[in-house]
Amino acid sequence: MSSAADTHEHNPHLAHHFETIEQQEEAQSMGMWLFLAQEFMFFGGLFCAYAVWRFTYHDAWFEGSSHLSTFWGGLNTIVLLLSSYTMAMGVYYCQIGDTKRLTNRLIMTLGLGIVFVAVKLQFEWFPKFHDGVVPGQWWGPAGHYADMAAFPEQGHLQLFYFLYYVMTGMHAFHMLIGFGILIPLIVMSAMGKFGPQRFMAILNFGLYWHFVDIVWVFLFPMFYLVT
């Protein structure tokens, strides 16, 4: 068995502890899928808590949900699905070697992601904070949400909004992490670091981004469309 050291010279992207580039790519891909399995269990805990209270306090869920804006939620769903599309196209352009379009698509993905978070804060979270829809000691629906104050089980209603903030907040936090990864990827892409020989970072980030999108695809009906 000859040492693989001589073949290392040919591919600068091959880390020293891998024998072949295929082995390296398979390892990176598997690592990402396992990370997503971990993420699945992480959100799974939240979904479990949601399910328990959704079935126990159905009336409160209905009342809380009817005060969420299907318009802004729906718009954000479209924005996020579009960003998934641009990300998928980014992976495609990376693999065919069109780095200019890759950079372009990554910037579009980042832009759509920022739109999502901005809409969420500006049109969903901040007005609720303003009108006292904050679970816990500051709870006191007023203004646009004043009629919620008449709901008999305020504690159950708070539970709905607590899960709403925690789950959409955890989702938004994952998007912020995504921004933190996207920005260096955009810079590296503009410097021409990616191409058909080196696309695992783009592919793996794409997987992450799609995962975060899928979480939202579940969150949207769970919170906005309860009847």
Binding site: M1, H17, Q38, F42, C48, G136, Q158, F162
Partner: protein, 551 residues
Amino acid sequence: MANATTTDHIDIPERDYAAPAVHYLNWQYTASSWLLTLDHKRIAILYLITISIFFMVGGLFATIFRMELLTPEGDLLNADTYNKMFTLHGVVMIFFFLIPSIPAVLGNFLLPLMIGAKDVAFPRLNLFSWYILIIGGTMAVTLTVTGGLDTGWTFYSPLSTHFANTNVFLAALTVFVTGFSSILTGLNFLVTIHKMRAPGLTWFRLPLFIWAIYATSIIQILGTPVVAITILLAGIERVWGVGIFDPYLGGDPVLFQHMFWFYSHPAVYIMILPGMGAISEIIACFSRNRVFGYEFIAFSSVAIAIIGFLVWGHHMYVSGQSMYAGYVFSILTMIVAVPSAIKIFNWTATLYKGNVVWATPMLYAIGFIGLFAIGGATGLFLGILGLDVPLHDTYFVVAHFHYVMVGGMVMAYLAGLHFWWPKMTGKMYPQLPAQVCAVVIFVGFNLTFFPQFLAGWMGMPRRYHSYHPDFQIWNVLSTAGAGVLGVGFTVPVFYFLWSLFYGKTAGSNPWGARGLEWEQCTSPPDPHNFHHTPVVDHIAYPYTGEETLSV
């Protein structure tokens, strides 16, 4: 395995008594070459030092509350301080010692060596995992000195969410952060085992230690995130004042217990499976026999990982969960004991007609089998629905899980450390003190925890700083045992450190053991592990039973 018989004539390499001039420990000396190292072997040493310190801290807490328990009255500590002591003992020992112990120290060191790889799949992630543990450890120290934690390591609501006046939120964050160290280590190991095995090293040629690490990693990846989010929710709810688990605010504490034990029961398998892996290696080596029923031991590890996810409700028989759920959990608890029993029987069968050598690691391994058998069997008592009701929250439970965690995992960890120490450092520790020490630990352990079975059986509840005077005799015995145990745990520190400077050069294979890390690696290993990628053409443990060994 049709091709598994090509084992009869393996040349045992000549014993090589010379240490290599350049190895992973001495090829660079700077602080940054340690703190920024990507070498799995150096990272293992970093973990070894870190968790040894945490073990001492956790032991110190235990020493303090064992002294309190010498007398029935609460005279040394008041109730609040006592609660903090046992809570911090649990948190430190579980999250900062037991969970990282064998996976992060021995696993990191051995996994690439055993499968013939140059490193783990993601060396940077590996180093990052260690730094996460350090960040978590710093948070743990901070929370200890700024008010402590008194909820028990289980964080049960409503105590944690409503009543406790201690640092619950910081503690929740600590567990959350530290969990990611465990998750990322498991991820790294799974990918490494899948993708980086040497040519010819098929799944059924892997050492059983690798199978055990594999099963452990599955639990780490699938279980840990659930407890992370659960404890984070409890922490947020405490700060925010909303009840998801707190019944005063409309929440459900049983939901917390379900979500907590969904991880924390499988977590006890994180704390025992890797130990079982180490024991398989050691039993085979020192009985000079092939492991009896290799496939059964391998699959029993995976079976424990899978079934272990389905038994969490046996912690909750008295919580008010559905009685029918209790039936199912009780039956599943009986089933999860089967793979553990398979291992015990197979190890015993491996000893049968073996050429048993009473080297230090073997003493620990035999101790492990006995103590784990007691710990496991008493687990079955507790898994029986009716019997658990009177035994719940008594010292019987405390004794049971210490037999598994200390009698099992700590013994296995020490066995592994004594077994692979010559490989890690190139030096051999003195046998006689080490053998005596193993016996001292065994005796001290039993003296500490066996009386707790009796006290618990008679109804002494856990987690109180004062108790009925009738129980004093058992507590005095237990505290005396803890003293013996403390000596037993301290002495190895000295002879291990001594061996670094004055120990005999071990040579590449001082035990005459089989496996890539012994047969193809120097002691200490080269910075890049192997000069040539090994090729494997035989099953694991091709011992013939004829080699002799004197230690």
